[in-house]
C-alpha cells in the first residue's frame, strides 16, 4: 500500500498541532505572570461597564453572519478548484461558474430584499 499519502497527512497534522500549541506553550513559558484584580476587568476606555451585555441583538447582525458563512464555505471549494485548475480545464470552469452563479443569486436576493442596508 502506498504510504506517502498517509505520511503527508500525518506530517501536516503534526506540524499544525505543534505549531499552534508550541507557540502557546512557548509564550506561557517566556512571560512573567503578574495577576492583579484590575487586570481582569473589562476594558471600556477606562470606565466600568454599565449594565450587562446580555441583551437581544438586532436582526441585522444575524443576516450578515448568515451571508458571511455562505461565502466563507464557498471559498473552500473555490480554493480546491484553484489548485486543480490545470487538470480540469473547461469542465472545471463550467462547474465552478455554476456554483458561483447559484451563490450570487442568493446574494442578489438578499441585496434586493434590503438586508445589506443596516437598519
Amino acid at each position: 500500500m502506498d504510504q506517502t499519502g498517509l505520511i503527508y497527512v500525518l506530517g501536516f497534522g503534526f506540524a499544525a498541532t505543534t505549531f499552534v500549541f508550541g507557540t502557546i506553550l512557548f509564550s506561557w513559558l517566556i512571560t512573567h505572570r503578574r495577576r492583579r484584580p484590575q487586570k481582569g476587568l473589562p476594558y471600556e476606555s477606562g470606565i466600568d461597564t454599565i449594565g450587562d451585555t446580555w441583551s437581544r441583538f438586532g436582526l441585522a447582525f444575524y443576516l450578515y453572519a448568515l451571508l458571511f458563512v455562505a461565502f466563507d464555505v464557498e471559498i473552500i471549494f473555490v480554493y480546491l478548484w484553484a489548485i486543480t485548475v490545470r487538470t480540469v480545464e473547461v469542465p472545471g470552469i463550467v462547474a465552478i461558474g455554476l456554483f458561483l452563479a447559484i451563490l450570487m443569486f442568493g446574494e442578489l436576493y438578499a441585496w434586493r430584499k434590503g438586508d445589506l442596508r443596516w437598519q
Partner: protein, 427 residues
C-alpha cells in the same frame, strides 16, 4: 546596601498635605470633615455610581428598554479629541441617545485666574483652547485693555491680527486632518500636521513658543516683527497652499468621504442659534454671524473680507466652510502684511496693573466660534471675577441633538466636524 535607616520618619507628602489642611481648617475655626473610611474597593468605582437618577434627562438616558445597551466612548478613546466621555445608548449599531460627560480635564482655570495678576492670567488662558492659543489671549487682552482704559498701538494691533490669522490657518488645517482621521483616513492628518508644523515654526519665530504662545500683553504684544520673520512669512505664504491643496485634493472629491458626510448631522440655522453654536459651525448652517464683522475688534474694521456661509449645515458643509475660512485668512494675512505701520508694539503699562473697579466683556472670533471673556476688576492686582465662554463647550450641546439615529461610526464624523477642544470645553 544604602537603605534609608528606618527610624528617621521621612515626611510623606500626603501627611504634610493633611497637616496643611488641618492648619487651613484651624485658621478658619472649623473642624476637619470626617475622612471617608477605607472600605476596600478593589475595583475603583469610576463608572456611573448606582444611585437613582437625579434629573429627568438622566433618568431618560439611563433607563434601557429592549435591545438597548449603554456603551462608554470614554475618556481614553481614539477619536474624542481629548478626554471627553460619551455615554452612548445604542440599539444594535444605531445610536438612540447620548450623554456627554465632561470634566475630565477641568483644571479650575477661572479660580486660579482670580489669584493671579492680570499679566499672569494671559498665561493661564493659553492651555484652554490649546489649538488656538493666540485667540485665547486676544479676548482677555481686549477685556483688560477696556478695564484699564488703554489701547494697544496701531502696529501691535496689526501684529495681533497677523498672528491670530496664522493661528486660524493651522487650526482649521488640523480640523480637516482630524475629520478624515476620525473616519479612518490616515494620510490627511499627516498633511495637516505638515502645514501645522510649518506655521508653528513661524509663530515660534515671533513668539518663542510652539503652542502656548504667551505672546499678548495688556496694551500690546511682547515682541516686534523682525524682517527675518517677514521673509520667512513670505516663503511660508507661497507654499502654504501646497499642503492645504494636497489635503483638499485627497478628501474633497473622495466619494467615500462625501458619501459619509453629505446629509450627515444636518443642523438648521434656527436650531443652531437656539443651541448657542457659533463660528464656522453656525455659518455652515447659513447664519452670517462673525464677531469680526458683528463687533469689529482690533483692526478688522480696516481690513476687507466677507463672511462666507454655506446653507446645507451638514458635516460636508462644515468641512467646506473651514476650507473657505483658510483662504479668507490667507487673504487677510496678505492685507495685514501690506498695511502694517511702523511704531511701538507695547503701550506704557506698569508691571502690575490695577484697573479701576468695573466690568468688561471682550469677544473674539476663534476658529471654534465666539470666544468671550467677562472680567470684573475691583481695583486690586488680580481680577475679581474672570469668566471665559468657550465656543466648543457650548456647541457640544448639539451632539445629543444631531447624533441619535445615525450609526456609531458616523457619530465620530459629526463630532469631528464640530471640532471641540477638550482643554476649552473643560476649562
Amino acid at each position: 546596601m544604602t537603605a534609608v535607616d528606618p527610624e528617621t520618619r521621612v515626611p510623606d507628602p500626603i501627611e504634610l498635605d493633611r497637616a496643611e489642611e488641618a492648619r487651613l481648617h484651624a485658621a478658619l475655626g472649623v473642624d476637619l470633615p470626617p475622612r471617608p473610611g477605607d472600605e476596600y474597593a478593589g475595583f475603583d468605582t469610576v463608572g456611573i455610581p448606582d444611585r437613582p437618577p437625579q434629573t429627568e434627562r438622566e433618568a431618560e438616558i439611563y433607563t434601557l428598554d429592549e435591545g438597548e445597551m449603554l456603551v462608554n466612548m470614554g475618556p481614553q478613546h481614539p477619536s474624542t479629541h481629548g478626554v471627553m466621555r460619551l455615554v452612548v445608548k445604542v440599539r444594535g449599531e444605531v445610536v438612540v441617545d447620548l450623554d456627554p460627560v465632561l470634566g475630565y480635564l477641568h483644571r479650575g482655570i477661572e479660580k486660579l485666574c482670580e489669584n493671579a495678576t492680570y499679566t499672569t492670567v494671559l498665561t493661564y488662558v493659553d492651555p484652554m483652547d490649546y489649538l488656538s492659543s493666540m485667540h485665547n489671549e486676544h479676548a482677555p487682552a481686549i477685556a483688560f485693555e477696556k478695564l484699564y482704559g488703554i489701547r494697544a498701538p496701531k502696529r501691535a494691533e496689526y501684529i495681533r491680527a497677523l498672528v491670530v490669522e496664522l493661528n486660524r490657518v493651522f487650526s482649521h488645517g488640523l480640523m480637516m486632518g482630524f475629520l478624515a482621521l476620525d473616519m479612518g483616513g490616515l494620510t490627511p492628518i499627516l498633511y495637516g500636521f505638515i502645514n501645522r508644523d510649518e506655521t508653528v515654526e513661524l509663530l515660534s519665530a515671533i513668539s518663542g513658543q510652539r503652542m502656548l504662545f504667551n505672546f499678548f500683553r495688556v496694551g500690546g504684544v511682547n515682541w516686534d516683527v523682525s524682517d527675518e520673520f517677514i521673509s520667512r512669512l513670505s516663503s511660508w505664504r507661497s507654499n502654504v497652499g501646497r499642503s492645504i491643496g494636497d489635503n483638499e485634493a485627497l478628501i474633497t472629491e473622495n466619494e467615500i468621504f462625501t458619501a459619509r458626510t453629505k446629509g450627515m448631522g444636518v443642523l438648521s440655522g434656527e436650531r443652531a442659534i437656539a443651541l448657542g453654536v457659533s463660528g464656522p459651525n453656525l455659518r455652515a448652517s447659513g447664519v452670517p454671524f462673525d464677531v469680526r464683522k458683528a463687533h469689529p475688534y482690533s483692526i478688522y474694521h480696516e481690513l476687507e473680507f466677507e463672511v462666507i456661509t454655506h446653507s446645507a449645515g451638514d458635516v460636508y458643509a462644515r468641512y467646506l466652510q473651514r476650507i473657505a475660512e483658510i483662504k479668507q485668512s490667507l487673504h487677510l494675512i496678505d492685507q495685514i502684511v501690506d498695511q502694517m505701520p511702523h511704531g511701538p508694539v507695547q503701550a506704557q503699562v506698569p508691571g502690575i496693573i490695577r484697573p479701576k473697579p468695573g466690568r468688561a466683556f471682550g469677544a473674539v472670533e476663534s476658529p471654534r466660534g465666539l470666544y468671550s471673556v467677562y472680567a470684573i476688576s475691583d481695583g486690586g492686582p488680580n481680577p475679581y471675577r474672570f469668566r471665559m465662554r468657550d465656543p466648543s463647550f457650548i456647541s457640544l450641546q448639539v451632539m445629543p441633538v444631531l447624533m441619535p439615529g445615525h450609526l456609531i461610526a458616523d457619530t465620530m464624523a459629526i463630532m469631528a466636524s464640530l471640532d471641540p477642544i477638550m482643554g476649552g470645553v473643560d476649562k
